[in-house]
């Protein structure tokens, strides 16, 4: 009785102190919606799928040992050679081998750390995939695509040879695969999952199964596009259809790419599930007995969230973000083609699995739990959970649908996706959306990008291979994600949102399912926007100011040049008068004495000449708008083409009160903004920062003195 009373007392005290935190309601009731029948949305909604783009079909048959955290299975791969040359070997990605030992390319660069999380020590830290047998099943104009239960006794044994880095392997073929010929091979594999690290693995009974099966590289005319798995490289593969059979413990709740087409009644404590994913280039799944399921629909797309009980209170916020992303991206980048999207919330202890995308499936991250005292400070943020959901869904377009080669040009996925995320947030929350707030201060999408530009974007150009970014420099995120986003935001602001959005939509429509390169994107933008865009009809000398789009993109993507303008001098001086020796009408020189007049700021407007020196401190040449404020309140805006190193602006008969570079904040690529706005001489307007900082500091001092003093 005493113990019960004590427990009640403790609970009551806790609730009274921080009621909202300690007495949070239980998880909302689960809700399910019907499984879509077809993995794709109806043809009239999604549009046609281009012919001949499916080159690699997979039948995967896998069994999860949830105690040993292993997956044993077979991968039957049917591949068509779409190149003009015969192919005598198949090259396979064995991604899980990136985590096999300290000296793999992945681990050597990461040194046991990924996104700030350390790899676990001790048992279970390593993951690997072992291809134990390989067979050639069929080869010819059209290869078989059999159910996994049907084995082919006449199969020809093949040998897989691992590459210098074990994340790649190759299968030599007895006979080359000719152009347009198809081959079916089958591989028996055994995958040991690591304890969750770098997107994949297990944590207790939670299993995130990604990069788990042998996966074909992409054959180009020049050879195999096979990339050693490195710290920053992600994935590139051909589209195909996936027919996946999973054998898992009966109590597991499973989320996977595609749609569930069959679930056999449990037998011997295990159940067998069959999934189908059409026109995708990868397949991932997650399983946990602790998942709660929340199903919703957006138009005809099923949204399925799998959430551990502890995080179930967040499902509505993630759903809102997911719907906002679908609304925005479906309208901007073309219809989302698949009928489903599955969002997996890894448990809090499996942070390494958070924030990763696969076709029609992604993992999101936890929403930051703000303690009650901090909530009183007005702290609110969308960065930790909602932003991740929007970001990972955005990959469905740029990684899943356009499917550019992420290893060769990571900016085409991560960077363009980051650009699209800010558009989605603005569509959802209004222009220049606030993504974090503390009291009366806010951080916008623009601030988030701009802060990263200052610190990390000047060492590597945007267009680099993923493997060329070194972990030491810390530039991958700032350059690939944020600078790329800034490049396209700036271009959009300069040419006008309507023109840019139309061009970008054409790029997305043209290259759906077609693996565009950076050159394809640039060509599409140049074609649709035009090589030159008139920014202003009247520049400072009366001549028009144009943006050379090709030059802009070349500087932005191929170089490390930074955008940086500064107002380095603003002054008012005596205007040129007519004093001195002048020839009169009779041809004789006559001295004209100036009227006595005050000096400097005491001069009248008509006798003054305002001038400002604008310097292009960065190497990046781009047109920039400048606003001049004059004494008396008048303002004038001018565009400068930004080609020269500097430009002096003079205003006879006017006195300058201040100058602002890029007053409408169009050049998001410019990381340093503080030197863009300068007050004129003699102006006593506050700087806008020192007084607020001092007031805040004074208040904090009072709090400290009031709390500690006496």
């Amino acid at each position: 009785m005493l113990a019960v009373g004590s427990r009640l007392l403790r609970r009551a005290a806790a609730c009274a102190l921080v009621g909202a935190v300690a007495c949070e309601p239980g998880p909302p009731p689960e809700r399910r919606v019907a499984e879509p029948v077809d993995p794709l949305r109806p043809l009239d909604v999604r549009g046609p799928i281009p012919a001949g783009i499916k080159l690699a079909d997979y039948v995967l048959d896998a069994s999860l040992d949830a105690e040993k955290h292993t997956v044993t299975g077979t991968a039957r791969i049917t591949w068509r050679n779409s190149t003009r040359a015969p192919v005598d070997a198949l090259v396979l990605h064995l991604y899980m081998n990136g985590f096999r030992a300290e000296d793999t390319a992945w681990m050597a660069e990461a040194r046991g750390s990924h996104r700030g999380a350390r790899q676990d020590k001790g048992e279970g830290k390593w993951g690997y995939i072992d291809v134990r047998a390989a067979r050639l099943l069929a080869q010819g104009p059209s290869a078989d695509f059999k159910a996994p239960e049907q084995r082919d006794a006449a199969a020809t044994p093949l040998t897989l040879v691992e590459g210098a880095d074990p994340s790649l392997g190759s299968l030599a073929l007895p006979r080359p695969v000719g152009p347009d010929e198809t081959i079916t091979v089958e591989l028996d594999f055994f995958t040991q999952l690591p304890r969750v690290f770098a997107r994949t693995g297990y944590d207790g009974e939670f299993h995130m199964v990604g990069q788990w099966y042998p996966k074909l590289a992409v054959r180009h005319e020049g050879g195999w596009q096979a990339h050693v798995f490195t710290l920053h490289s992600e994935f590139y593969a051909d589209f195909g259809d996936y027919d996946v059979h999973l054998d898992v413990p009966e109590d597991m709740v499973v989320g996977a790419s595609g749609v569930l087409v069959e679930e056999r009644p449990p037998e011997g404590g295990r159940k067998r599930l069959r999934y189908r994913a059409d026109t995708v280039h990868d397949f991932a799944w997650a399983a946990s007995p602790d998942f709660l399921e929340y199903g919703d629909t957006w138009r005809d797309v099923r949204i399925r969230q799998l959430v551990p009980r502890a995080l179930a209170g967040d499902v509505q916020r993630h759903l809102d973000a997911q719907v906002a992303a679908l609304e925005s991206m479906d309208a901007r980048f073309g219809p989302y083609p698949w009928s489903t999207i599955t969002i997996v919330h890894p448990p809090e202890s499996a942070g390494g699995a958070q924030g990763m995308e696969y076709p029609t499936f992604f993992t999101t991250s936890d929403i930051l739990r703000v303690p009650l005292p901090l909530r009183l400070l007005g702290i609110h943020e969308l960065l930790t959970g909602e932003f991740t959901t929007i970001h990972e869904f955005g990959h469905q377009y740029f990684q899943g649908l356009l499917a550019s080669d992420e290893a060769t040009q990571p900016w085409l996925d991560e960077g363009i996706n980051s650009f699209s995320n800010t558009l989605a947030l603005d569509d959802w929350l209004g222009d220049d959306a606030t993504i974090a707030r503390i009291g009366n201060q806010r951080v916008s999408t623009i601030d988030m990008i701009r802060v990263a530009l200052q610190t990390a974007a000047e060492l590597d150009p945007v267009d680099r291979r993923a493997e060329d970014y070194r972990d030491f420099t810390g530039t991958f995120g700032g350059t690939v994600y944020r600078k790329t986003a800034a490049v396209f935001h700036t271009l959009r602001a300069l040419v006008g949102p309507e023109k840019f959005d139309r061009a970008f939509r054409i790029y997305c429509d043209t290259w759906r399912f077609r693996h565009p390169t950076g050159a394809d994107l640039r060509a599409a933008l140049l074609r649709e926007i035009g090589p030159k865009v008139r920014i202003s009809d009247t520049g400072p000398d009366g001549q028009p100011v144009d943006l050379d789009v090709a030059d802009y993109l070349a500087q932005a993507i191929e170089t490390t040049a930074s955008v940086d303008f500064a107002v380095t001098r603003v002054a008012n001086r005596r205007a040129v008068g007519d004093a001195g020796w002048r020839r009169g009408q009779d041809g004789a020189l006559a001295l004209i004495e100036p009227e006595p007049a005050p000096e400097g700021e005491e001069l009248g407007d008509e006798a003054s000449e305002g001038f400002a020196l604008i310097v292009r401190e960065g190497e990046f040449r781009v047109p920039v708008e400048i606003e001049f404020a004059f004494k008396g309140g008048a303002r004038e805006r001018l565009w400068w083409d930004g080609q020269a190193r500097y430009r002096v602006f003079t205003f006879p008969g006017k006195k300058l009160a201040g100058v602002a570079i890029d007053p409408d904040d169009k050049l998001l690529l410019e990381g340093e903004r503080l030197d863009n706005r300068v007050r004129g001489p003699g102006q006593r307007t506050p700087d806008g920062l020192s007084d607020p900082v001092a007031r805040f500091h004074e208040a904090m001092d009072l709090a400290v003195l009031g709390g500690l003093g006496l």
Partner: protein
Amino acid sequence: MNALRRVLRVPGLWLGLCALQLGLAWGLAQPVAGAVRAAMGGRVWTDPHRLIAALAELLVQNPAILTVFVAAAITSGLLGAAIALLVRGGVLLRLGDASDRGTRAWAEFGRASLGNLPVLALIGLYGLVLRVVLSFVANALAGAHALVELVVLVLLLTFATCAGDLAAARRVLRGERGVHPREYLRACADVARSPRLWLASGALTLARWAIAGAIVVIAVHGSGEAWASWSARGLACVAVFLALWRVAVAVEASRRD
């Protein structure tokens, strides 16, 4: 005479301490303002609700400003504690007997403050040790539940404050030596035997902490705005009043001994 009446009888003391605190906070903010103003030069920031972005850029360009921020914050904490210790003797004397006025009262105030300073510092040290010990006790009592631990900790810390006030009042007003730990422990025992004393002192301590918290909340919600500054100053004066009231509760208790 109850404790509140003791405080109300010395408005000059309250106003003087308020002026000291407000002046100190304002003065400590000036180097910060000066450093930011110097770093800004003639540049201007126009968005009052995106100061974080401006500050982030300014700090990247002038990391030394951060040193000024931190130094000013540490100084305010240290000065707050030092001044509280310095005036403690005089405050106790004035609250104990407000009958003297004018220059003589200030002279007495100064004598009581400086004369008792070493012993009051020692009592403060005992209080610090007690707080550390009580923190461990709170942790042990509350087990793994952080919230319960917080409640217990608050209760025990208010106890330590009350005991310190009582020991200091006995030293200044009753002439006890106050040097030996036994005298401090006796004050602790008396507070433990007098829940009403602990409750009154604890409630006033908590109210003062709440006001300190409210100042932080207002400062953050009204970052850089004039209304927030004036609200913070007003609340700071209320905090001083509450502190005097709490000390007066100990004075009252020492008179009853």
